[in-house]
């Protein structure tokens, strides 16, 4: 036992790294082979995201902001996919913007993955538009409050926003009844709340999907300023299961495409990683108490 304690006390962190790699890789392989995912029970925050989108009438313009970059894509891409999937299925007018420089590419990827692949009837510039990136962070948000075209004069492909059918009737941010924000940091949901939602006098509702690290920081805004929230891959998996269950093909034998199961598939590795951390914390405390006991013995 004492040898075990000694090993624990001097444990090289590389062993921990190896254990983490195994505990994450194991479930990835198992889920990859079996194709089975763990069941999800949606929390009220995830349900709220779903219902806020679902209750919008067909054709309603929705502002979708991709404020993240490829680095956090692993955590945020699955929820971005599901959000666009639901909006497209609902027939909403999707206006994509980004306040992060690499956001427009991620928007294009999502459009290719969801809209072009599964909703070919939706027309670019009419049913959806990628307005692209604009630098200036909060300054852009403030300008959008009064003049959308001033904040984003042209779309990503160079068309003046005034000529885009999808933007008909959009003069300022509050002309969008709903803002869907997917974010990984600054500028992100917090800034949108502080500069746009608070100033809109309740005209704009907002739902967000954010990284796990940001989730505790955004809870103070839910459910008053934030109408719904997807926290990390767990929130994405809950929301994904909601969207999939509502949009599942009538023919039950048809499998849901893998791209719409990404979040649920990633809950397996998350389970492995969390269990490892619980185990590590317990082991660390065993070592700590053993060490303390031996110190007490030594002093007495």
């Amino acid at each position: 036992m004492s040898k075990f304690i000694t090993i624990l006390e001097g444990l090289d962190r590389r062993w921990i790294f190896l254990a983490m790699a195994i505990s994450v890789a194991g479930p990835i392989l198992i889920i990859g082979i079996t194709g089975k995912t763990l069941p999800e029970t949606p929390t009220p925050a995830a349900r709220a995201v779903y219902s806020e989108i679902e209750k919008l009438p067909v054709g309603t313009p929705v502002l979708i902001a991709f404020d993240f970059d490829p680095a956090s894509g692993g955590e945020l891409t699955p929820m971005a996919t599901s959000l666009v999937h639901q909006c497209a299925a609902r027939g909403l007018r999707m206006v994509f913007i980004a306040l992060w420089p690499l956001g427009p590419q991620l928007i294009d990827e999502t459009i290719r993955r969801v809209i072009l692949a599964d909703y070919p009837n939706l027309k670019e510039g009419i049913d959806y538009v990628n307005v692209g990136f604009q630098s200036g962070n909060e300054a852009v948000m403030k300008v959008m409050l009064t003049d959308f075209a001033k904040a984003f004069p042209i779309t990503k492909n160079g068309t003046a926003v005034g000529d885009v059918v999808a933007l008909k009737g959009i003069q300022r941010a509050s002309d969008f009844p709903l803002l869907v924000e997917v974010c990984a940091g600054y500028p992100g949901a917090k800034e949108w709340i502080q500069y746009v939602i608070s100033s809109s006098g309740g005209k704009i509702k907002m739902v967000t999907g954010c990284t796990g690290v940001q989730t505790p920081q955004l809870y103070p805004y839910y459910p008053v300023q934030l109408n719904g929230m997807l926290g990390a891959i767990k929130g994405a998996a809950e929301y994904e299961s909601l969207v999939n269950s509502s949009l599942a093909p009538k023919d039950s034998s048809a499998a849901i495409p893998a791209k719409y199961l990404e979040a649920q598939r990633r809950m397996g590795p998350q389970l492995g990683a969390h269990l490892l951390m619980v185990g590590l914390i317990i082991l660390g405390n065993i070592a700590f108490f053993a060490q303390r006991k031996s110190k007490v013995r030594a002093t007495s």
Partner: protein, 231 residues
Amino acid sequence: MKRLVPMWIAIVAGFVMLLSAFFPITESLGETMGDVFNVVAAIAFILGAGSLAKVNLAKISQRDQGWGYAAITLICFAITLAVGLGKFGVPPSAQFPALGWSGEKDAEGSIFGWIYEYALVPITSTMFALLAFYVASAAFRAFRAKNLEAILLLSTAFIVLLGRTFAGVVLTGWLPDWASGLRLENLSVYIMQVFNTAGNRAIIIGIALGVTATSLRILLGVDRSWMGSGD
């Protein structure tokens, strides 16, 4: 003079930005200040690129330790800059099919787009993924039940870690409906919404007041240490 001029620029710009939020007459001035910042930051980027080149070239010429990395940095920098500016491999846009340069720099098929897709995305995702390993080693080292506060922290960590996965459902899913609030997945939501929110709000209010006081010290010229502790 070297400190006085920047200080007054900061004071004037700061007050204009502050007032522009409340007084419409100063609104356009505030926007101008924002534009000025963007222009200055863009000019400073040239200085940044200069610094990057200077430091790395010096490293290569002196054959310092790790000079190979410096060479790789400069080569990658030059390639990315060239293919981005030159729009290599960019197909023409649909609006102007006759003009070779009319497409977007990162359009599908462009070299810049290729670098983005096959170099930047995997590399940055890998760096982000390192967090999982560091979180594990930090948790192993930091979560020790040293005292009552630490025990509370530890218990909360367990509830949230388990409640955010299927393990929570397995462990406490058997609890009857009247005790469903004690299920780990519900407890973790409760902790996040109540205790976490309360703590975060306190920190946010403190930070907001700290930001106000710091800004005021700078705007009033009381704190000039951002220009160096030269007093």
